[in-house]
Subunit: 444 residues, 2 copies
Amino acid sequence: MPLTLNKLLSFDHIPDAVGYLNRLKQVEALQTIADLETATLVRLLQNPELKHGVALAAMLTTTGKIDVLEQLPKDRLADLITELSPETQQQALALLSTESKTIILNLMSYPPDTAGSMMTTEFIQVPNTWTVAQTLQHIRDVESTRETVYAIYVVDHEHCLQFVLPLRRLVIAEAEQALTELWAGQTPIRITPETDREDVAHLIRRYDFLALPVVNEAQQIVGIVTVDDVIDALIDEAAEDIGRFGGGEHITKPYLEVGFGTMLRKRGGWLAILFLGELLTASVMQHYEMALAQAVVLAMFIPLIMSSGGNSGSQATSLLIRGLALGDVALSDWWRVLLRELPTGLMLGIGLGALGFIRIIAWQYLGFYDYGPHYFLLGLTIWASLVGIVCFGSSVGAMLPFMLQRAGLDPASASAPLVATLVDVLGLIIYFSIAALILTGTIL
Amino acid sequence: MPLTLNKLLSFDHIPDAVGYLNRLKQVEALQTIADLETATLVRLLQNPELKHGVALAAMLTTTGKIDVLEQLPKDRLADLITELSPETQQQALALLSTESKTIILNLMSYPPDTAGSMMTTEFIQVPNTWTVAQTLQHIRDVESTRETVYAIYVVDHEHCLQFVLPLRRLVIAEAEQALTELWAGQTPIRITPETDREDVAHLIRRYDFLALPVVNEAQQIVGIVTVDDVIDALIDEAAEDIGRFGGGEHITKPYLEVGFGTMLRKRGGWLAILFLGELLTASVMQHYEMALAQAVVLAMFIPLIMSSGGNSGSQATSLLIRGLALGDVALSDWWRVLLRELPTGLMLGIGLGALGFIRIIAWQYLGFYDYGPHYFLLGLTIWASLVGIVCFGSSVGAMLPFMLQRAGLDPASASAPLVATLVDVLGLIIYFSIAALILTGTIL
């Protein structure tokens, strides 16, 4: 017995064994588990964290050990088969039983990020004519093949979902009670295969359920989404939001596994769009060429002023993305938010502007730099510009998530770089306009 | 019966009734529910989404209806009591039973964001000498007072946690079997009250448990953290990460409920720190005053060049924050990441630089702007600077999360504004150095 197998069998919990396998090289990992018994292979392969899952599924297919795949939960099997090479995929589908194949092809037909792509078809469904004893006996019979037995889906004679009972209600009930006696008359919460995974997470969170039934148009259950899949989805969504906020969206694979070309294409596309937006800053600057030539000192504060606008904007955006995501703020609150952001931006601008003003006056007095005889007016220009730009940045930054949500987009697609780009172009115009107002006749 | 009460009683599910109450004004909501029976009040107040929860708890305290509070799950009660005004808090604690008071004070003593502050003390604990039948009978007796009965915690004669059984194992077992017969010998996964909530979420996700036991130093169970609390924690964490990435961290209350002063202080502090960092750009610009005065045209591309560095940096940062958070990338992978970011940045810089170069040449030929006789060299300067800055931005942006994690900080505290500030100062130096290299003798 190889050392690695010994080590593998020493783990108490499957996820720890999976963690160990993930740290092995693929060849070594596959060799280690090749001769395990079917039940153990099923438990390993069932874990979505197993990095070598697809490779293992391919190996099992080509070596004809299809019984392992056959015993997997169908949702996991569908995920694995989706990722196989087209050739191996066909081979696997051909080897599977007709029943499994039908379920798998059906699961594979739902778009990613929907309830259909997350759901499992292994759940407990019983007729509404049954008693508690009958149901408990059924659970005993099928328990090993069901992802969860904690929610019991009760259907009428047309197989339509009538109500849901938690197992705890059954455990405390009398054996001879009818299931309908345990039902308080609530309509069950249900979703469709097309429900977005974010909405699924929202519902599971709201109602504190361990699973949600997915029904077709005839109200028949086609699957259930369990809370552990929702947790995975939430973690994915959070990562996606961070990625999107930083402008690295649409890169869904693990960082080190993305091909160099794909990485370049996906990152480059977004950077290029922002770049084209930022090219407008060059046009704005050209417009103020005369002012720049007369007062080079104005150019020195451009990075400072631009970044302050961008920073206050992306701060406001992130606050409002969060507010909209958590439901603290509704779409209709936009004017209340704007009425808060304007004075907030004003005060923040006054504060930052004061720092800038002090810096100019201090450098002048301490002799670090000579801003010329009009240093005081220059200081005022910087101060006033910061007030205008921070105010503008906060307002635009705060309104952007609302505008995106209003347009039917995800408010979280407002990224920090997008806000910065929006604020930069108009920020420069604000700066040069204020400079013209204050400095014309002196250094301009 | 008021209209609002009629409406309230029409809801099938408590979360929907809570949603309805949340849309009422506080006075109206409290009036509506004032005369409800205790059981319904408990179910409403139990829901952490109820906005008027603290006000309701205060009303119940002052009107002496302490039985509602007494019947709440202790973790929820502790959360509510923590938020009461000091006076009402004392009043509530004085009215509660000694047993409840002890539990509450203990729960309140754990820092926020730890397992201790999330856990509930209502769980099923049985001695390891019991049979399945004894355990099921116990579950029937106490079910209504337990947050979950799906995990059964089995302890030895010293009340130390020995193993955990899921209810499904009990349901399929024979009545006379001993609990120890159902145990396969695994050591249970457990946490301490001090475990960070992010780690709790990580463990629940890894092992797909519905609850995790929290043990003291003697390995006795002091509470359990259930999956629904973990989902709430995950959503909070995700919102916190977005807030932090945008530089709006530490604002934990709902946006519209934060006081104006608090909002200013928390946002202003961070903006001021970034501003002080950005002041360095003014010093860098002063240093290149001569170059700027000779070639005003150089100033025109500063916003473009700076923002490209910041954008590529925050993109790389967000990718790596995600990679580290999902475990796709380990701390030790930093050099592999750097070896990817350098060529990626190089190629992205070449691409963006080409766009900038084409823009200058095109404007020159189309007569939109005259960059002078050395427009070609100027175009090359912009191109080369973008290569340098995008390369630098991507590398710094990618390394920042690693450095933060290495320093024991959360990699997600790397915010887009922080990356931009880091990149801006050195970006300007890169730009002016390349300009000096290419343009000295012509326009410099």
